[in-house]
């Protein structure tokens, strides 16, 4: 996926990796986001070849930097790298791309691949100290869970300066030399939530379609549509409505949203064929049990995509709500199956 960056063959430091003899030469880049880059971003967002959206790790020249130009650290995920170089339009700088296996800064920092060891190694392997006269490297703030600034200083001599959370704030940060408190705060606005929806959908698409077909055949078209509605509610509506859904717990937010989604299906069952009243009531309960449980489960699984749920809290949610979800689904399915058997057997 890497666009061919022009190699600057005139420079090569004392590289110690024989197989990648040119990993230490400086690559050239610019601030232009091409159509190919945009297509790559869309494919990445849809989960196509998840680990394939990589940029070659190493040192890049952005524009025409000299020995005094700033150095920015980035991940070798195309969207991370492209967002950085786009926002540095008009600046002459160096970009030090760490090998994060094609994963963004934040997630890679959590795993430790965007980490102290890799940063120190890249500083050394690119010969950065011979290229710039200063000893400062600007690291995105969201890389901090993987980087120990004082260890980097001790091991490489370079001072880590944490830049703003969002690359879009870089021009102002460069102008003022300071990240404001607002720039240091992570937010999760609608546009950031929307871009995550495709991958959420892709994950559940195949099982959902299969379950929907099975339900359609066994329990009728309404059940088939209900399955798709539940999954779309959990993977599309849930992220969109996240901040507006009541309570703090993702599972509870999901139960509430799923409950709303279940109402029309419940109503449809309540007034369907000419069945005895108890059977209609039982049928109407099934979507009210299963749909909220499914949406709550999908909602709970969205925790990993957000920038604010702690592991302790998520674990608490799992123990608190997953048994309830399982029980609701189990009871709902049991009622549904019993009703189907009664119907097939001619009892009702």
């Amino acid at each position: 996926m890497t666009p061919e960056h022009n190699m600057e063959s005139s420079f090569c430091c004392s590289c110690s990796e024989p197989e990648t003899a040119c990993s230490c030469s400086i690559l050239q880049t610019d601030s232009n986001i091409t159509i190919a880059n945009r297509i790559d971003h869309i494919l990445a967002r849809w989960g196509y070849k998840r680990s394939g959206h990589t940029v070659r790790p190493g040192l890049y020249r952005l524009g025409n930097p000299d020995a005094n130009s700033p150095v920015f650290a980035s991940a070798n995920y195309t969207i991370s790298f492209d967002t950085l170089r786009l926002n540095l339009k008009g600046f002459d700088a160096y970009i030090l791309v760490l090998d994060t296996k094609g994963i963004n800064v934040w997630c890679a920092a959590g795993k430790g691949t965007f980490g102290t060891d890799e940063l120190v190694k890249r500083i050394e392997s690119t010969g950065l100290s011979h290229i710039v006269s200063h000893r400062k490297i600007i690291v995105p703030q969201l890389g901090a869970p993987g980087i120990s600034a004082h260890m980097v200083k001790q091991r490489s001599g370079f001072t880590v300066e944490y830049g703003p959370v969002r690359a879009a704030d870089l021009p102002e940060y460069m102008r003022t030399g300071k990240a404001t408190s607002e720039m240091r705060k992570v937010s999760f606005p609608i546009q950031d939530r929307l871009v995550l929806i495709p991958i959420e959908l892709v994950h559940v698409a195949i099982p959902t379609i299969m379950i929907s077909i099975i339900l359609w055949l066994l329990a009728g078209p309404v059940a088939g549509v209900a399955a798709i509605a539940a999954v779309v509610t959990g993977t599309v509506l849930f992220p969109i409505l996240l901040p507006y859904l009541p309570t703090q717990d993702f599972s509870m937010k999901g139960f509430i949203l799923g409950g709303v989604c279940a109402v029309p299906f419940s109503a449809m069952y309540a007034q369907s064929a000419d069945l005895p009243e108890w059977a209609l009531a039982a049928g109407a309960i099934v979507p009210l049990l299963i749909i909220p449980a499914v949406v709550a489960y999908l909602g709970l699984n969205f925790t990993g995509s957000t920038p604010y749920t702690s592991r302790t809290g998520v674990k608490k949610e799992i123990f608190r709500y997953v048994p309830i979800m399982a029980a609701m689904t189990g009871i709902g399915a049991a009622i549904g199956i019993t009703l189907s058997i009664f119907r097939l057997a001619g009892v009702i």
Partner: protein, 102 residues
């Protein structure tokens, strides 16, 4: 009620703090605020246990069991009979993912 995130593993030992303010810089949720002789832990419940403050604290005045708050990863680990806390976030892999953030 329905708030599982009030408590977490973040611990701050203010007597060790040398007031370098690194934690106020790296925390994306303003959990720490600057003070005269030491920083203050002001919003414990907002901590997401990313571990940036503890890793960047030069005097170990902060402790936190860092990890990714990802239900998908923890449930997958539990289903495979592995330690929930050991199961790392699998974002990036082709097999599946919990997070897709930038």
């Amino acid at each position: 009620m329905f708030h599982s995130y009030l408590d977490n593993s973040l611990k701050f030992y203010k007597d060790r703090c040398i007031n370098c303010k690194r934690c106020t810089e790296v925390c994306p949720h303003r959990v720490f605020s600057a003070g005269k002789t030491h920083v203050n832990l002001v919003y414990q419940a907002l901590c997401m246990e990313c571990g940036a403050c503890a890793l960047n604290c030069p005097v170990q005045a902060i402790e936190v069991e860092s990890g990714v708050g990802c239900a998908w990863a923890m449930i997958s680990a539990a289903l495979r009979g592995r330690d929930m806390d050991g199961g790392e976030c699998s974002c990036g892999g082709d097999a599946g993912s919990c997070c897709g953030m930038k």
